[in-house]
């Protein structure tokens, strides 16, 4: 393999990995105060991409305005999901895993409606304004500026998320609920408010992932499930709850996928990917950067 080819594959892998990481981080956001993985978030990413096509390409709205509408709309959808599919499980006193079914059900409803509305064809969504999909050559390196923007955006968002959890009262309250739900309640914090907030934020974050992923992956209704699985892998590899870990995990997965795409057929590629994830989890069950649960009461 030529150096140029190898580097191009790596760049592609890193950009792809950054998108997987965003899906994983979206899962982390909703999980933190709830211990619930929102399985509908893959479809939120898909909706971000498809509605991105609708607003930006079909209607022709400016990127920023269209994206804002999208984040708000899908954030509300996440909040709605929390009310109908998750909150009822929290109100029941004993803990069940009912959310597994109810968030999955919510995701199936979304994908079915989306299939009816959009049909299966892939659609084009424009890149972030000021960036482009044209290939730039720098020595042996080739990339496009949208790829760079995606990676930069993920890194910036992680800084923002970590700042929020560490330095704002609401963020600290979410950390408190994550660590000790009853302890937080005894301090006057209502976990149900934070649960809802986290689902809204997780939904909006996934919508953003969708709209910036679409120029690279094309928007189609089959995007959601694929990205949910990759997002889960990124998060498991990096460690649940660790945003930086999830980014590393996503990039590892993206690069393995990208490199193996010219060496292996599709079936084997998935196999190699799963083998790597399983191997890491065998050695480090909480992922590369995950912490073992602090306390079980």
């Amino acid at each position: 393999m030529l150096l140029e080819d190898f580097l191009a594959l790596m760049v592609n892998g890193v950009a792809l990995g950054a998108i997987y990481a965003m899906v994983g981080i979206g899962l982390n956001i909703a999980y933190k105060p709830t211990n619930v993985f929102n399985l509908a978030q893959g479809e939120f990413v898909m909706l971000g991409a498809m509605l991105g096509w609708l607003l930006l390409t079909y209607v022709g709205m400016p990127w920023v305005a269209g994206t804002l509408i999208l984040l708000v709309a899908i954030g509300i959808l996440g909040g709605f999901e929390e009310r109908v599919a998750v909150a009822p499980h929290f109100r029941a006193d004993s803990h069940h895993h009912g959310w597994l079914i109810s968030t999955l059900a919510f995701s199936i409803i979304i994908i079915n409606i989306a299939d009816q509305v959009f049909r299966a064809d892939p659609r084009f969504v424009p890149p972030i304004p000021g960036f482009s999909l044209d290939t730039i050559f720098m020595g042996p390196l080739s990339f496009n500026t949208h790829q760079v923007a995606v990676v930069a955006l993920v890194v910036a968002s992680i800084f923002g998320i970590e700042y929020f959890y560490r330095h704002t009262l609401t963020g600290k309250a979410i950390s408190a609920v994550a660590e000790d739900r009853d302890g937080a309640r005894l301090n006057g914090i209502n976990p149900l408010h934070l649960t809802m907030l986290s689902f809204v934020a997780g939904g909006a974050y996934c919508a953003l992932a969708g709209i910036i992923a679409a120029p690279l992956l094309l928007a189609s209704t089959s995007l959601g499930l694929m990205l949910l699985v990759k997002g889960f892998m990124a998060m498991a590899l990096g460690g649940v709850g660790s945003q930086w870990g999830t980014l590393i995990g996503g990039i590892v997965i993206g690069c393995i996928e990208s490199i193996s795409s010219i060496l292996l057929t599709t079936g084997y590629r998935q196999l190699v990917l799963l083998a790597v994830v399983l191997l890491v989890l065998l050695i480090r069950p909480h992922g590369l950067f995950g912490k073992a649960p602090g306390r079980t009461v």
């Binding site: 006193d93 309250a173 660590e179 302890g183 005894l186 301090n187 602090g294 009461v297």
Partner: protein, 245 residues
């Protein structure tokens, strides 16, 4: 049983897990500025009673009154604003957050001005100077005794009228246990009523005015601390049912 001067008035409370009652028909009173001990062997239901009072657990029967107001089964996050603070078993501070963050969360939903917040911090730092020294450290890095002080300060920063403490001395060296009791004495001197669950029975009885003994989820005796100290009821409560032994 209930007295007119009761701040915390627990009446015939029954509560448990999954519809199986663990405590049955327990009545208990804490007067203004009074310290009351709740004693009993492991598994007697002491923590269960506190959890039912603070709303973490549903009471199926009975009532709880705080300063005359019925608070039965009120959500714990609402109760803290009414002046009841519960320091749960096992030093449950937020280990990954700093000491100052833990105190800030203690005030999270009180809606105080920043000047008042600063005053509340000062109060706690005056009572627990070590917390001021370590205010930037993660709470998980504190020693066991310091963590317990933090847990108490976190409850106290809301200026509760009633403070419920669940085994604050567990796992601490004797000298630290003495320090905990010393702090509790200072808190009490400020007029806070205290309901204390303790394993260090003798020391607890020296500290409180009145004590209640429970066994198998039922009240078996209560009385002034000085009288209970020498009574056979204490031994019975801790030995459990003699016929089993």
């Amino acid at each position: 049983m209930s007295r007119p001067d009761a701040i915390l008035d627990i009446r015939d409370l029954t509560a448990g897990y999954n519809a199986v009652p663990v405590i049955r028909g327990i009545s208990l009173c804490v007067g203004k500025g009074e310290a009351v001990a709740l004693l009993g062997a492991n598994g007697a239901g002491k923590s269960t009673l506190l959890r039912a009072v603070s709303g973490l657990l549903r009471a199926t029967e009975g009532a709880v009154l705080l300063s005359g107001e019925t608070i039965t089964n009120l959500a714990p996050e609402k109760l803290v604003r009414k002046g009841l603070s519960h320091v749960a078993e096992g030093r449950r501070i937020f280990r990954r957050l700093s000491v100052a963050d833990n105190l800030e969360l203690g005030l999270a939903r009180m809606g105080l001005s920043s000047a008042e917040t600063a005053r509340r911090f000062e109060e706690q730092y005056a009572l627990f100077p070590i917390l001021h020294e370590k205010r930037k450290d993660p709470a998980g890095a504190l020693s066991g005794g310091q963590q317990q002080m933090l847990a108490i300060a976190q409850a106290l920063i809301r200026r509760p009228t009633v403070l419920m403490l669940d085994e604050p001395s567990t796992g601490l060296a004797p000298i630290l246990i003495e320090e905990v009791f010393d702090k509790m004495a200072q808190i009490r001197a400020q007029g806070v009523s205290i309901l204390l669950v303790e394993q260090v029975v003798e020391r607890a009885l020296e500290f409180v005015d009145h004590a209640y003994l429970i066994q198998g989820g039922r009240l078996i005796a209560d009385g002034p601390a000085t009288e209970l100290k020498d009574s056979s009821a204490i031994r019975k409560a801790y030995m459990g049912d003699v016929s089993i032994a």
